[in-house]
Amino acid sequence: MPYEHPPSPVAPTATSRLWTAGASGVAVVVMAVLAVMKPELAGWLAAGAAAVILATWLVNRTPPTPVDISDLDGGVVDLGPDAALLGDVFEALDDPLFIISGGEADDIAGRRIALANAAARDLFRLGGTGAGLLVSVIREPRVLEAVDEALFDGVPAAVDYLGGGAQERHWRAMIRPLPARQAHDWGGGALALLALRDETDVRRMEKMRVDFLANASHELRTPLASLSGFIETLKGHAKDDPKARDKFLDIMAVQADRMRRLVADLLSLSRIELNEHIAPLGRVNLARATADVVDAVSVISRERQVTIQADLPHGGAAVIGDRDEIAQVVQNLIDNALKYSSAGGAIEVGIEIDRTLDEAMAARMADGNRLSLATPDREAGQRYAVVTVQDHGPGMAREHLPRLTERFYRVEGQKSGDRQGTGLGLAIVRHIIIRHRGGLSVDSAPGQGAIFAACFPLAPTSEG
């Protein structure tokens, strides 16, 4: 099949060359006329005319260089010095791109990745040029079908699909047929371009709005009902009873405070969820962050007569993360432990460094139940730092563990009377940890308290 070279979109054709020259001539004449009519603007107009003439000359200076298609070697177009540039552009584009060669129509193993750009290799952790079987990278059947259609029927397509992983991502796969190349290293046949676009942000925004409204309206109903009940009472028979009035106002203040915290927690949860797929970049000293939190809660713990024993390594533990968010994880875990500790009890906070994922997520209680609440994607050789928070409260039965990080979940039979929680603490913890590519596990048994262990990937040690 002879390869036809399409007209270049950049170089103007002969007719357009005439056209641009004519147009700029007209512009210069108009400016000259204006300069005569308004002498005070003459200087500006002269400069403008010069610019137009210069631009016209620049555009027309380079004659259109037709690409020499007579010396096509094996069907590969010679773009002259620009071939290398186009290659660099392909490599530098932010969206993951694949060029797929077709092989034979009935052979699924024939669909191979001929070329993948840097973004694609990063995303799927491919080595070298990324060449390999297409199915080993993307299994989504609708994408594979669309690729087949593009390769053998020349039909472009776009497919939305959900990419798995600890952080869910919404992808839009765009598949375009490419002109066939006969050279052997292209698999000798049909080619297609597969481009992926990350649409997670848009989808998340949508979902966040819906979830926030649903949660907020549901959870604010109870305190709101009690507030309006008290207002009714204050307007009615409690109007002239100062003692009752003070009591009611106190309760109302507590309810209003609860509503405020609820809204704050919901907002921060939404924010964290929104950023879940963007890994944090900073370095945080986990030991120092933990020490700061322990110091901050010492006032409350003293009030409740609970001692916090912190066993933190001297060298510190540098992890990859966002300092405020990691502090919030530790804070929420300690708050939780405080809530379920009785007066005179103790909470142990510890840090373990340089663990593998399996060690980090291992059982910590001899005869308790262990469950992982968040597990990161496995990365070979990644080491973790673990922060553990242990309380000696009532503990939880096995069947409650899977639902702990659910929003507003409360373990049955545990009164939340004086315990001031919004029911979102652990949900926030889990989402922060997922964002940090870390893990969360819990060990507990009735009557034996609970151990929460959160692990974060250690930052690579800076060498030299």
Partner: protein, 248 residues
Amino acid sequence: MNQHTVKAYGDELNQLTAEVVRMGGLAEAQVADAIESVARRDVALAKAVVERDSRLDALHRDIEKKAIRLIALRQPVASDLRRTLGAMKLASDLERTGDLAKNIAKRALILAEAEPMQPLTRSIERMGRLVSNRLRDVLDAYTASEIERALSVWQTDDEVDEHYNALFRELLTYMMGDARTITACTHLLFMAKNLERIGDHATNIAETVHYEITGEEMLGERPKAVPGPGEEPTPTPHLSASPNAAED
């Protein structure tokens, strides 16, 4: 089928693996779509899942035929034999997975006619996501021949059981509270059971992957801190039957 092309032995093996992976992708999508059809009460999607199941069956037959042909013509030994047999085993596990997903979709069709049961379908969704992730992990392990990843799936089977038990309790509470929900709850219970079985198939696949790479069976207990509910039914206070009593 192109009979004239004489392919190298290695190519044929690669093709077999690629077909299994594609079948895996299809099974994954079936499970994910089935769960979504439950969560969103999407009748069209549920119907699509039911229809697409025949493709999995066709792929299963095709892979078996190819594997038998390969054994007959090439007489593979050692790791090649394990790869061929592994492909056959995986194909039947994936076919069963597809059947279970189809069953979930069929129940989703019935549920869509009843009143919505938000919190419960959300629990199913959560469990479904966990199971999908395990299926994805184990197929990733298969495509990349990563033994460590397969092992981690094999070791964490109890997580699915935990979710199943939690869901069982939740459903029972609902049914005791309101007898009108019994029909819907029973369907949800079967869905949960199906998901749990899909999780078991993922574990089977992990074992096959391990065998294919090392040539050794995965023997002995799964390294767990506590016995799973399947082996030692934990009596729950107000329940007479354990959710796993009828298992095996």
